[in-house]
Symmetry: C2
Subunit: 197 residues, 2 copies
């Protein structure tokens, strides 16, 4: 029981603990694959508490997806930064990290993409688009630091590879998608640099 009976020390703590606990459930079962009743029961929280904090189920979904997007984005950025100064190494590290994710048993594809496929409406589509915006920014920055002739284009191409790899890992072959994407990404990076360097 994450929350005792009476008034909690901090209502804000309750809210974020609900988000944390609901995230894997909504990811595994799908946004519509689990009802509010079961959700609350698994969370150890009453419906009233959930509805006071989030208004309705969409409010919870929105909060969960935003938190997830933030977490995943910083996770990727951290993995890139940890690979050192060389943008080429950073790019390789991103795909290595992705491949490790794909091989986790709990991997079921990108939560944002799954959500957008289920709820083709706001706020989910907006959160997903923002998520991809941020990822594009990160990849474009790597392309720019690598000295690509057209970093905007290369960034978008790298984005295709990242998201394509995640999708293929989810629906086709999780053992090699990241590796193949890495090879392709490095080849595109090398080809996009002006002669020399």
């Amino acid at each position: 029981m994450p929350v005792p009976k009476g008034s909690t020390i901090d209502p804000e703590r309750t809210r974020s603990s609900i988000i944390d606990a609901a995230t894997p459930l909504l990811y595994e079962r799908g946004l519509d694959g689990i009802g509010v009743a079961e959700l609350c029961s698994r969370l150890g929280v009453s419906k009233e508490t959930l509805y006071r904090h989030f208004g309705n189920k969409d409010g919870l979904v929105e909060a969960v997806l935003k938190a997830r997007s933030d977490r995943v984005t910083s996770w990727i950025a951290t993995a890139a930064a940890a690979a050192g100064e060389d943008p080429r190494d950073q790019l390789a590290a991103v795909f290595d990290e992705l491949q490790q994710w794909y091989e986790e048993p709990s991997f079921r594809g990108c939560a944002m993409h799954n959500a957008a496929a289920q709820h083709q409406a706001q706020p989910v589509t907006g959160i997903t688009a923002r998520h991809l915006d941020r990822r594009l920014d990160l990849l474009t920055a790597i392309a720019r630091r690598a000295g690509a002739a057209d970093p905007e284009t290369l960034g978008r191409q790298l984005l295709l590879l990242v998201e394509g790899a995640t999708l293929i890992a989810a629906h086709h072959d999780r053992t090699s998608a990241g590796t193949h994407a890495k090879q392709a990404a490095l080849a595109l990076l090398d080809a996009a640099r002006p002669a020399g360097a």
Copy 2:
């Protein structure tokens, strides 16, 4: 009314007309976004007829997805074949065709991917995996005809670009995903050829 009151000339015709009519509805609204009742009403068909032909809703979904996969697969293959003999031209034609698809107002991503994101279970996942198998075969064949040093690897990389482009077009930017994917694909193809040719 696609089917009059009494016995139809051909029950098989009824079945395929149901599939054809249900396909866009399930695509637009999502597998769980439209109920059997509304589905039947829009199809101009009674529940009894639908359930006799398909057993249950999953049976209809399965039939719709299989038909869709067949249709899309042959559509891509036809576009490639129409581009002439040069595998490089064929590859470019595939992405041009995809880009045109993305720009259609009714475009909502790949039906198979959307379905798999919603129903992470058989038979949907199996149909989606088979769909990707066939697409991989087509792309690998192009890679092989182009003289790639490792056509299996290049085929998988091209698959990443195709599916990544469709996903990005659906959730982020439908105006340029196909074009960027085409440029990346051609660059990978050129880089994968042994020196010369």
